[in-house]
Every structure is written in structure tokens, then in C-alpha cells.
């Protein structure tokens, strides 16, 4: 009986210590995530300028959103700029396949392609803004070499979004390349050997072995890129501080930020941010469902 008591006091002491160890992250989570989220839900039903107390207005913000052309334009811009995701994934897979060969210099190339990933997005955005300069920019000078007279990229509704997509692909390529490379190196060799024994050529091996084995990474990259892409802000804010020509590059987070901190429409901005949060959540949930089906189809 004494041993039982001793054990339980020991356990209690262990639990107390464990609780102390996890306390900080849990408190941080409650204060900086749960509470703001709950407050967002409340504030989205109010008219609130951030100075005087919020006034409850029911669904007015959401109704206003439905007929706000800028909201829809910002949503469309954000969605459009995600074209870069599949492009970037294909390119990075090709890169990873190239770097997975046994040859010299792969470490060097891996480093070079990864440099944009670790670089500050603010500095990168400034850099690319200069590169997209209509008269003296790097891009147009390169185009001039092949006889194309390039546009003033960031001042033109037709080219501002492609310009930002190009930059995002350039910036993110190294990251997905690295994850693909890691996944490629962990594909068990015997799968290829078995496929080769069955007479599968290089392409068939790629389609039936490599691609399925890469599916978890692809899934991870798609989910995280959509989450990241839906929150694109810094590039927009630095490269096109006014939201681009005719609102052509204003992203949803840029519009939320603008409404909240320049127009002090905190209630309206919060309701838009809540919609963004719900969309991100829904996309993630749908993709997890799809992924589960994929997993079954592999087995």
C-alpha cells in the first residue's frame, strides 16, 4: 500500500512538472490564437472603428461583402495568383529529378536554388520591382535580347498578376524542390528493381512508382501553398502599394489590411478575415478528404 501511495505522489509530481513545461505554449495559444479568433467571430457582426465600442449590426457586414466589388476583385486576384502553384510544383519536381542523379555539383545547385527561399521577402519584392521596371528592368532587357518590347509590368492590368506569379514561383521553387528531393531519396530502391523486372521502362517506372510515392509530399505542398497563397500580402504591398493598376493586384489580405488600418473599418475587415479563415479551413478539410481517397486507391 505504501508503494502505491509513493507511486501516485511521484506521478502527481511528474504531472505537475509536465503541466508547467507545456503551460507556456498552451497559454500563448489561448491568448494569441483562441481569444483573437473568438473575438473575430464577435467583431464580424459589429460595426467597429477600433476606437469606440463595437455596435452589433448582425449580418450587415456579410451582406455588404456580397455586393462589394472590391472584395470580389481581391478574391479573384488572390485566386488568380495561385496559378503559380501548379507551375511551381511541376518545375520543382523536374528540378528534384535532375538533382537526384548521381553527379557532381548537386550540392551547389541545391544551395543556389534554395537561396531565394531564405531571402527576406521584403528585399526580394524590392528587387523584383526594379527587375520589372518597364524601361530599365532586368526582365525587359532580357526580352529585348530576343526582340520583344516588354510592357511596364507592374503598371499594366494585363501583366501585373503574371509578374507577381513569376516572382512567387521563383521564390518558392527551392523549397518544394528540396521536399521532393528528400522524398525521392527515400523511395525504396527495390520498388524500381521490381518494376524493372516486370519490364517497366523509365517512364512507366516514373508513373507507377515515383509519382505514387511522391503523393504525400505533393499533398503537403499543395495544401501549404494554397494556405500560403491565400495570404499573399507583402509582395503586393511593396511592389504595388496602391493595390496595382485598377485594383489589379490587390489580394484579399491586402484589402483586409487596407480596410482595417487605413479606413478603420475594423468590423468589416474582421468579417472578411473570418471568411478567409473559413475558406482556408474548408480547402484544407476537402484536401484531407481527397487525400484519404488517394491513399486507398494506392493500396
Amino acid at each position: 500500500m505504501t508503494t502505491v501511495n509513493r507511486r501516485s505522489t511521484l506521478h502527481r509530481r511528474e504531472q505537475r512538472t509536465a503541466l508547467a513545461f507545456v503551460a507556456l505554449p498552451v497559454i500563448g495559444f489561448a491568448v494569441f490564437a483562441v481569444f483573437p479568433l473568438l473575438f473575430s467571430v464577435y467583431a464580424s457582426f459589429t460595426e467597429w472603428n477600433g476606437i469606440s465600442a463595437p455596435v452589433f449590426t448582425g449580418l450587415a457586414n456579410f451582406q455588404a461583402m456580397m455586393v462589394d466589388p472590391y472584395f470580389w476583385q481581391a478574391m479573384w486576384n488572390t485566386l488568380f495568383m495561385m496559378i503559380g502553384i501548379p507551375v511551381g510544383l511541376c518545375l520543382s519536381l523536374l528540378l528534384a529529378l535532375a538533382l537526384n542523379r548521381k553527379m557532381r555539383g548537386t550540392t551547389f545547385f541545391r544551395t543556389v536554388y534554395y537561396v531565394p527561399v531564405i531571402s527576406s521577402i521584403a528585399a526580394i519584392a524590392i528587387m523584383w520591382q526594379w527587375a520589372f521596371n518597364g524601361d530599365f528592368g532586368l526582365i525587359n532587357q532580357a526580352l529585348a535580347l530576343i526582340g520583344i518590347d516588354g510592357p511596364n509590368w507592374l503598371a499594366n492590368t494585363a501583366t501585373v498578376k503574371p509578374a507577381i506569379i513569376m516572382m512567387s514561383v521563383w521564390k518558392g521553387l527551392g523549397y518544394s524542390m528540396l521536399l521532393y528531393l528528400a522524398a525521392l531519396q527515400s523511395v525504396p530502391r527495390h520498388l524500381y528493381e521490381a518494376a524493372a523486372l516486370d519490364g517497366a521502362g523509365v517512364l512507366a517506372q516514373f508513373r507507377n512508382v515515383t509519382l505514387p510515392m511522391l503523393r504525400p509530399v505533393t499533398f503537403f505542398l499543395v495544401v501549404t501553398s494554397i494556405i500560403g497563397g491565400s495570404q499573399i500580402f507583402i509582395e503586393i504591398n511593396i511592389m504595388t502599394p496602391t493595390g496595382g493598376p485598377e485594383f489589379g493586384s490587390a489580394s484579399i489580405v491586402w484589402y483586409i489590411w487596407q480596410k482595417a488600418f487605413n479606413y478603420l473599418q475594423m468590423g468589416y475587415a474582421t468579417s472578411m478575415s473570418l471568411v478567409l479563415g473559413l475558406i482556408v479551413f474548408a480547402v484544407t478539410a476537402i484536401q484531407f478528404r481527397l487525400n484519404r481517397r488517394n491513399q486507398f486507391s494506392i493500396d
Binding site: Q15, A33, P36, T106, Y113, I118
Partner: protein
């Protein structure tokens, strides 16, 4: 999942058990076949290397262009055809830039934020990871899952209430709103270190407990040495993330002397673009890039290993 971060696989990796069971061909035929395959592989390598080099040029060109522009005179910036190697090279731009804006205080502020967040936050995260992985705590999996789910809430959804929270205690235009949330730890780091610790056998911890060691002692003597490499890598990644952060600083910081480096260069960009002083802007941007570039070059291996592991596990 075992990942070898170095791309060169062991030389005889292809001699797996499956290959050994293949019917053996006469030696000469086998050798000639292999040399043919080698030749094809070598040509393939050359083609791939050329393509990779072209890609590497595209990746580095904007950076090189930034550096080149930063050394130009006002006039040379607008020279046609463009000069890749500026003549004359105006190194004075790199002196001029320090007095053109609060670059020093930007660096100082960024260092204060990044150092305090990552040092305290890493301690908090690793203790939590230890508890989640190795200690008895009722409902710890539920708590851990809740923390992970919380990561899915996008920052823009929480930024307005967070801003109002910090505004109500008078912390706007101070570094506190950038520092304080990070002190509570980083869930990505907790997740990563917990995964790392899950593979450590419980028995060594049980043994230490029987010897009467306290949990802090166990952490310091047993756990810390084990997770040190993982911690270092996560620390660097986190440091770079805080250093490069822009959205939170732009929300909270107004006065130039309180701004972090990223904000300082962004306002350089806004101010000097109207004066078309591009060399100055590019010099400032390049200075903002340098610290992370240096850290990356030094810790390249650890960073790449850590990213590869985090992503593959996620």
C-alpha cells in the same frame, strides 16, 4: 522515413538483394552493357548540368542585378545597353546608405526581436516537446492536437483582435507585440522536437528517474544533448523567419526609429524610388539580405536537412 540529405548515394547502393538474385550474365557481356549504360548516363549528366546551370543563372540573376545596381552611379542605372559590371563601381553607395535612413536602428531592432524570441521561445518549445513526448500528463495528446489545429488559423484572421489587444495596453509602436507572442514557444518547433524525441527509448528516462533526478536535470543532462542538433536547425530557421518578417512589424511599428530592418528597407524603397536613387535602394536591400545569406551559407547542411525532414513528416 530515412532521408540522406547529401545527394550522393553510397557507391554500391544499387547492389540490393533483388539485383543479386538476377541470373548472372557472362562477365564480358555484362561489362560492355554496363559501360554503354555509363556512357549514356554521362551524356545525360552533361545535358542535365547544362539545364541546371541555365536555371541557376535565372535564380541568381536578380540578386546579381541588385548587387550590380547597388554599385552604379545615378546615370549608369539608366544606361542602355545595361552594364552588368558597373564602371565606375561606386562603393560609396554602401557608405551613403547608412546615413540615408535608420538602417542601424533597423538592424538593432531586428536583432532584439529575433534574439529574444528565438532564445526564450526555443527553451519554452523544447521543454514542452519533452513533456509531450516523454512525460505523464492527462489528455496530453488532446492538448497537442489542439495546438496543431491552432496552426491552421491564418494570421490575418487573428491580426485585428491581436492588434486591438496590444493597442489597449499601449504597446503599439513598441517592439513588445513582436516579441511577446514568440516567447510562448513555437508549435512547429515543438512538433519537430517531439517527433525527434519519440524515437528515444523511455527506459533511459525511467532509469534517470529511479536515480532520483529531477525532470529539469533529466532535460539538461539527457534530453538536451540528444535534441541539440534538431534544436539548432529549428532555431536557425525560426531566427530567419523572424528576421524576415514583415506583416506583423508593419502592423505595429510607425516611428522610423522603432522599425525593424525589413520595414526600414521598404520605406527606403518608397522614399528613394521617387528620387530614382535606385543604387541606394539596392544597396539597402542587399544589406538586408546579407545576414541570412551568411547564416545560410554557414549552416546550409543543417537547414536543408531540417527543412527536408519537417516537410516530409508534415
Amino acid at each position: 522515413m530515412s532521408i540522406s540529405p547529401t545527394t550522393s548515394a553510397p557507391p554500391n547502393a544499387s547492389t540490393g538483394p533483388a539485383e543479386r538474385s538476377l541470373p548472372r550474365l557472362p562477365d564480358r557481356r555484362r561489362a560492355s552493357e554496363r559501360s554503354g549504360r555509363d556512357k549514356r548516363r554521362r551524356t545525360g549528366n552533361i545535358v542535365v548540368a547544362v539545364l541546371l546551370s541555365a536555371g541557376a543563372f535565372i535564380m541568381l540573376a536578380p540578386l546579381a542585378w541588385t548587387f550590380s545596381t547597388s554599385l552604379k552611379t545615378h546615370e549608369a542605372v539608366f544606361a542602355l545597353p545595361p552594364q552588368w559590371i558597373p564602371d565606375p563601381a561606386v562603393w560609396e553607395n554602401y557608405i551613403r546608405v547608412w546615413s540615408a535612413g535608420p538602417l542601424w536602428s533597423g538592424i538593432k531592432n531586428s536583432l532584439i526581436v529575433a534574439c529574444s524570441v528565438t532564445v526564450v521561445g526555443t527553451v519554452a518549445s523544447s521543454l514542452a516537446a519533452f513533456a509531450f513526448a516523454k512525460m505523464r500528463l492527462p489528455a496530453k495528446n488532446v492538448i497537442f492536437l489542439a495546438l496543431l489545429t491552432g496552426m491552421m488559423i491564418p494570421f490575418p484572421t487573428m491580426m485585428i483582435p491581436q492588434f486591438m489587444m496590444f493597442a489597449s495596453i499601449g504597446w503599439v509602436d513598441t517592439l513588445w507585440p513582436l516579441i511577446v507572442p514568440g516567447l510562448f514557444g513555437n508549435i512547429v518547433m515543438i512538433f519537430f522536437l517531439k517527433q525527434y524525441l519519440d524515437s528515444v527509448p523511455d527506459s533511459i528516462i525511467e532509469a534517470a528517474k529511479l536515480d532520483g533526478a529531477s525532470f529539469l536535470q533529466i532535460f539538461a543532462k539527457l534530453i538536451f544533448p540528444i535534441i541539440k542538433p534538431a534544436m539548432a536547425a529549428q532555431f536557425i530557421l525560426w531566427f530567419m523567419a523572424v528576421w524576415n518578417d514583415y506583416l506583423a512589424p508593419i502592423l505595429y511599428l510607425n516611428s522610423p526609429e522603432n522599425q525593424t530592418l525589413q520595414l526600414v528597407i521598404a520605406s527606403f524603397n518608397a522614399t528613394y524610388a521617387t528620387q530614382t536613387d535606385y543604387p541606394l535602394i539596392m544597396a539597402a536591400s542587399f544589406i538586408a539580405l546579407l545576414p541570412v545569406l551568411l547564416v545560410f551559407v554557414i549552416f546550409q547542411r543543417q537547414i536543408i536537412e531540417s527543412v527536408a525532414l519537417t516537410g516530409a513528416k508534415g
